[in-house]
């Protein structure tokens, strides 16, 4: 499953970050690494971008970017 399939209020853990190397680097630098727990806080009013919480930090990213993040243990 990918992060962009999660609904607001769901949690999951990161399995792999894909996409272009620029995007991957940015995402990894923000602490979204393998095993990190993400919580989808909400989607923007126009359904894009989304806001997630990782290690206490609120981070926004576009839905197409979130689709590059593979997650499991969705709950």
């Amino acid at each position: 499953m990918v992060l962009s399939e999660l609904k607001a209020g769901q949690r999951a853990s990161v399995v792999r970050v894909g996409g272009s190397s620029l995007l991957r680097r940015r995402i990894l630098e923000m602490g979204v690494v393998r095993g990190a727990e993400v919580y989808v806080e909400k989607y923007a009013p126009l359904k894009d971008p989304l806001e997630m919480v990782v290690k206490g930090t609120h981070i926004s990213l576009r839905v197409e970017e979130a689709a590059q993040i593979l997650v499991d243990h969705v709950r």
Binding site: L23, R24, L28
Partner: protein, 735 residues
């Protein structure tokens, strides 16, 4: 410059660099340390803002340099390159790394990288009290011991810990340097082996000519760092090339082994190392942000209310900037008039007086009057930024802006463009990616600024009567459509690719500090005044020269000498005026004298270099249905768009300023048609931005080429669109 570490005598001057994540509280610490004694400029060659402050403490001259806020020190964004190069090349005596206590993990990601640059590092553990309230406790002593870095507690937004920070920095600068090898990140076996092999290769082959520590360079080569590669080859051409070849092979082996880019594997492992550190020093009771910030966000980015609230804030900013700003603008204009009046009274009639009045005072006055708008606008922007709302506005708008190939943050500059392009282009500074910034700057001038409105009002009023409103609305719409098309065009050609990822932190809402707001506002405005003042002054004098020379007549009002025949009637009226018997005769004389002035002025403009230029470029404007007078007006509009109207007034020799009806009538009688008026309005909407905006483009893009490109592009678009309107309209049978 700063002394080298081993110098025996204590250096009197120390350079202290501040590093840290965005939103870690770096700016408030910098402001608290340096107060208003700041120097704001740009880092050489790039448009990243550089802030420096000087303070004296305990017999030391301290230079505090604020490095750009970054999450990392990779060479892939300008900010990171600037920060890293400063530490590597300028060798500051101490680097203070600001650690956000509520985000230890990510702060340490940057901190461990700074540590590896082998400089003297001091940690400022910022807002630890706040973190404790939220259930996070940090063992600073352990952190200090584990990384071998002294730690000072600070609370940036309350100014606490500043003295301790400075004292610790001075103490550290005066202490002998300590090797940090054993406390650096250790990677997994394969990567460590590759780094070790490369490190040995470098020390054996290029010892002595290496610009930076060997292990660090080896690790960077494994990460395929372009800047380190470049510097290595520059320092040791031959062995450097061999090392690059060796690094390439090692990278390939690692990529095959991990089935991933070695650089990303190393990022992962660095986080692994940090996770270990964090487990050692931090104890957490709750991880979620359950503060007031989240509740504010529930409202401000609400599914339904988010947009209306956003629109309200933007509306309020617009109102403040352009409506409230209108009052001081009027005062300044009155002040400029006062100065002009005084200068006019002091100076004798002649060229010098005209230069001072029409060139210098008018030119500088036209810039200074933007000051209140700019102050207010930057106050609002600083408020948005310091509270954290700016990130939310980008969050709300990104979907729409992304359709044009832009970032959510481009929205505010574009919107401000409807008021004035100068602050709008300056507002593009909030965009982090240079490509996004340039693209935003290129399309902002298509937002029809308020100075163009008088031109539309005159032309549409004269030729479209009751439909004038619709026509003007259509013009604004055309500007928006062209900006969208331009955005899409450039995003897929000139500024392709790096549609920067939207990965962006939404920082917790914070109470803004008045001091920080003031410093923000004042810095930007001061920069505007100083730099722009010079260029505008020069530009205004040039335009004045072009329109005043060669001189036909002496300066007013005694030009009746030069037109004795033509103005016989007027002359007799003037002659009759002194001691006039009837009020009628007096007013007739006044009117006649005014007519004389106008005619002389028109003649002067017509025969000036500017007028000749107008004649010269007439063939260019002919296909647009614009005659030479229109052409000259458009040229003069380069100084400021409002001037188009006053030049038209001069050339069509109508009443002095204010008598708009007269100009409208004169235009209609001059053979201008509704179609050519429309063509001219389209041209005014789109053609080159005014001098002030042009200068701002030069400054904000940091490049004369982008400025020239912007001028050429907008003027070409203007010509093509006006051509289509005029010729197309004629084909369709309008006139």
């Amino acid at each position: 410059m700063s002394g080298n570490p081993p110098t025996p005598a204590p250096p009197r001057r120390l350079t202290i660099a501040l590093a840290g994540n965005p939103n870690a509280g770096k700016t408030s610490i910098f402001n608290n340390l340096t107060g208003t004694r700041q120097k704001v400029g740009n880092w050489p060659g790039v448009t990243v803002e550089k802030k420096e402050g000087h303070i004296h403490r305990d017999g030391y001259d301290l230079t505090i340099v604020d490095l750009p806020g970054t999450y990392s020190l990779t060479p892939f964004s300008i900010e990171e390159v600037v920060a890293r190069n400063f530490v590597l090349d300028e060798r500051p005596d101490v680097v203070v790394d600001i650690i956000d206590a509520s985000n230890l993990e990510r702060s340490l990601y940057l901190a461990t990288q700074i540590r590896e640059l082998e400089c003297k590092v001091l940690f400022a553990l910022n807002m630890a009290d706040l973190a404790r309230e939220h259930g996070t406790k940090i063992d600073a002593g352990k952190l200090s011991a584990l990384l071998g870095v002294p730690v000072v507690f600070t609370v940036g937004n309350r100014g606490q810990g500043m003295d301790e920070l400075i004292e610790a920095a001075i103490r550290l600068a005066e202490s002998p340097a300590q090797p940090a090898h054993d406390r650096n990140v250790r990677y997994s076996g394969d990567i460590e082996e590759a780094i070790g092999r490369l490190e040995r290769f470098l020390t054996e082959r290029a010892e002595g000519s290496l610009p930076y520590p060997a292990r660090w360079m080896a690790a960077k080569l494994i990460e395929d760092d372009p800047i380190v590669k470049e510097r290595l080859v520059a320092a040791a051409p031959q062995s450097g090339m061999h090392a690059l070849q060796a690094a390439r092979n090692l990278r390939q082996q690692l990529a095959a082994r991990f089935d991933d880019d070695p650089q990303l594997v190393m990022t992962d492992e660095r986080y692994g190392f940090i996770a270990g550190l964090v487990r050692e020093v931090q104890s957490t009771t709750s991880r979620q942000r359950v503060d007031i910030s989240r509740n504010i966000d529930l409202v401000l980015t609400h599914r339904v209310f988010g947009f209306p609230i956003f629109i309200f804030f933007i509306w309020a900013m617009f109102q403040l900037t352009f409506t409230l700003g209108e009052y001081p603008v009027k005062w300044i204009e009155a002040g400029v008039d006062l100065v002009a009046g005084a200068a006019g009274a002091l100076l004798p009639e002649g060229v010098l007086r005209s230069l001072v009045l029409d060139g210098v005072i008018a030119g500088v006055g036209s810039v200074i009057k933007f000051m209140p708008n700019i102050l207010i606008l930057f106050f609002c922007i600083a408020l948005f930024e310091d509270t954290g709302y700016m990130a939310r506005s980008a969050f709300l708008m990104d979907k729409i802006m992304h359709l044009i190939g832009l970032h959510g943050k481009s929205f505010i500059p574009m919107l401000m463009g409807f008021g004035c392009n100068v602050p709008a282009i300056m507002a593009a500074r909030t965009l982090e990616s240079e490509k996004d910034r340039i693209l935003t700057i290129l399309i902002t001038p298509f937002m029809s600024c308020s100075a163009k409105l008088p031109v539309y009002v005159i032309l549409a009023g004269a030729f479209f009567g009751p439909q004038a409103g619709t026509v003007i609305f259509g013009l604004y719409l055309l500007g928006i459509v062209l900006s969208i098309l331009t955005g899409r065009l450039f995003r897929s050609t000139l500024l392709r690719g790096a549609d920067a990822p939207f990965v962006m932190e939404l920082p917790p809402y914070r109470m803004p500090m008045a001091k920080s707001l003031m410093i923000h506002m004042w810095d930007r405005s001061r920069m505007f005044l100083r730099r722009m003042g010079q260029v505008i002054l020069l530009g205004s004098v040039v335009i004045w020269t072009l329109s005043s020379f060669p001189q036909t007549a002496g300066f007013l009002p005694d030009d009746d000498v030069y037109h004795p025949g033509e103005n016989a009637a007027a002359e007799s009226a003037v002659g009759a005026a002194p001691g006039a018997a009837s009020p009628d005769a007096a007013s007739a004389a006044e009117a006649a004298e005014a007519a004389l002035r106008r005619r002389a002025k028109a003649e002067q403009t017509e025969s000036s270099y500017l007028g000749r230029l107008g004649r010269l470029i007439e063939p260019l404007f002919a296909p647009l249905g614009i005659d030479w007078r229109g052409g000259v007006s458009l040229l003069s509009g380069f100084v400021a768009k409002e001037i188009v109207v006053s030049t038209l007034g001069v050339l069509y020799a109508t009443g002095e300023d204010g008598e708009e009806d007269a100009l409208e009538r004169a235009l209609a009688e001059s053979g201008m048609t509704p179609l050519s008026a429309l063509s001219m309005m389209v041209f005014v909407l789109l053609y080159l931005p005014c001098l002030a905006a042009t200068t701002t483009i030069r400054r904000e893009t940091g490049s004369t080429r982008w400025m020239l490109f912007s001028l050429a592009y907008s003027t070409t678009v203007a010509w093509v669109m006006a051509f289509l309107v005029y010729q197309g309209g004629q084909l369709l049978g309008f006139n």
